[in-house]
Amino acid sequence: MDENSSARLKRRLFGIVYRVGLFLAMLTICLPGLWIVLSSLRPTVEIMAKPPVWIPQDISFDAYVAMFSGIGKGGIPVIEYFRNSLIISVTSTVIAVAIGMAGGYAFARYRFRGKSGVFLGLMLTRTVPGIALSLPLFFLYVRLGIIDTHFGLILAYVALNVPFTIWLIDGFFRQVPKDLAEAAQIDGCTRWQAFWQVEFPLAGPGIASAAIFAFLTCWNEFALASQLTRSVSAKTLPVGLLDYTAEFTIDWRGMCALAVVMIIPALTLTYIVQKHLVGGLTSGAVKG
């Protein structure tokens, strides 16, 4: 039975290696984020300390207090930025999802000539790098007088989100069997009714996650926002982050605090959608 015990030993060894590997991988993934949260809660002296202080000695919320206490007291107009971010992200998400639903439905339910080509064409508009797109948009927006406004950024973000929203929503409608809507139509529904009363509720969770994905894209976007906004009236949070950098110095603690403010909504929303998001992206990769 020597072979048996050596096999058992091998298996146990493998188990330990596996656990260590998994732990290290998860540590690498989570540590940078945790470090930001920790740094936002410790006094500046500790951040700058040499030799480093690993475990915070005293927790302080000074960075958060300073951030909200306005310009002049080490704060930035964070409430305005937050409001701008929220207005711009929500509005453009709603519009993008409405357009995406129409488009996604078209791809999922109809056969038409050049379908694959149209789909690729829509996707290609998404590949244009934000900074490359910002050049003509900047020029146009200045001419039209919509630079540094909510409207300008909303318009840009709708266009940014539509291709991907179509891709996701297309996937979710594919998962809803065609027969259901047909059965409803046989029972006397119009196509419109069949859509709203049968297919839409079934694809609902998926569409919600497409919406959250679109929201996050707007919430996190920087390249366009940094060029198309100038002042407190339209700057979003990612652009506001730069307020903490001066010519030669960076207020690390303040930045960490603002980073936490930015991450929390994103974290919550991503957690809610994670399951549907993966389903939507991969539908069509496997049959059924």
Binding site: I36, K50, I99, V118, G130, I131, W252, L267
Partner: protein, 298 residues
């Protein structure tokens, strides 16, 4: 076309087409035009001077531009390949877990929630030569005595940027490949084992072909958004030190907004657009091929 009545899918796609035409296509045509002019922001009248291919010709002879171009391609190649490998490894680690898989999956998605600009800032903080986590850890462990000038030395800065980029995007690969692993039927693997395949053979000839379409979906999604490295680089080094980490996108931004040479910047921007399109079309075709291979409908 049946008579004058437009078809239903056309009507449904119309809003999307209108928006994209108005916000993407028309501005891009405008920028295409202005790439043939010596347009400067400070001199609006130069918008109407036509110089033909002069901008493009001067780009062809511009060594800084070609360095930035090469560096961008290098970064994308390194980052995408490593993200793919690490994502695959991570997905297989998590798939093996018997307990707490849901929690692991959520943790795995953690970097996806970070805006690229936050990733840039966070790694700038961690790679800071004086107070950064990386140097502190290395010094405490006694691996190095001196502070390593991560973001100050050209090659190290490039490595630091690659690490930031890989950290932020591996999650997409891992999560999609994991979805593929979980959706895979178990019988073929068991059959392969019964027939005497080694674990490597099982992986290479059974698991991998099945997971490949998922990997290409991840690739396609990533290539739609390759330019987000701009945010990371902009924050971490802003193209420095002395232009050693300048990418195509930071170069475009600098030429346009700092130097105000819009015409030239637009010409450069077209190279970056073509690069993105090339990446996307390449992976999109791979994806379509992989899908046909496993017989999925498209």
């Amino acid at each position: 076309m049946k008579g004058f009545k437009p078809s239903a899918p056309f009507l449904l796609l119309l809003p999307a087409i209108i928006v994209l035409a108005a916000v993407v296509v028309v501005p891009l045509l405008l920028s295409l035009y202005s790439s043939f002019t010596p347009f400067r922001l400070t001199k609006p009248e130069t918008f109407f001077v036509f110089v033909g291919f002069r901008n493009y010709l001067s780009i062809l002879g511009n060594t800084d531009f070609w360095w930035a171009f090469g560096r961008t391609v290098l970064l994308l190649t390194i980052a995408l390949n490593l993200e793919m490998l690490l994502g695959l490894g991570l997905a297989m680690l998590v798939e093996k877990a018997t307990r707490g898989q849901r929690i692991l999956r959520t943790l795995m998605m953690f970097p996806m929630m970070f805006s690229p600009i936050l990733v840039g800032f966070q790694f700038k903080f961690m790679f800071n030569d004086n107070i950064g986590l990386v140097n502190n850890a290395l010094q405490s462990l006694g691996i190095t005595r001196d502070a390593i000038p991560w973001l100050i030395e050209g090659h190290l800065a490039f490595i630091a940027i690659s690490i930031a980029e890989i950290w932020s995007s591996t999650a997409i690969f891992a999560i999609l490949i994991l979805a593929g692993l979980l959706a895979m039927p178990k019988e073929p693997i068991e059959a392969a084992r019964v027939d005497g395949c080694t674990p490597w053979q099982t992986f290479r000839y059974v698991t991998w072909p099945f997971v490949m379409p998922f990997a290409y979906i991840a690739m396609t999604i990533r290539s739609l958004d390759v330019a987000r490295a701009y945010d990371i680089v902009k924050i971490m080094t802003d193209g420095g030190p002395a232009g050693r980490t300048e990418l195509l996108w930071t170069l475009v931004a600098r030429t346009a907004y700092s130097d105000g040479r819009m015409g030239m910047a637009n010409a450069m921007a077209y190279f970056s657009i073509l690069l993105s399109i090339a990446f996307t079309v390449y992976f999109f075709n791979k994806l379509a091929a992989a899908r046909t291979q496993i017989g999925a409908e498209w």
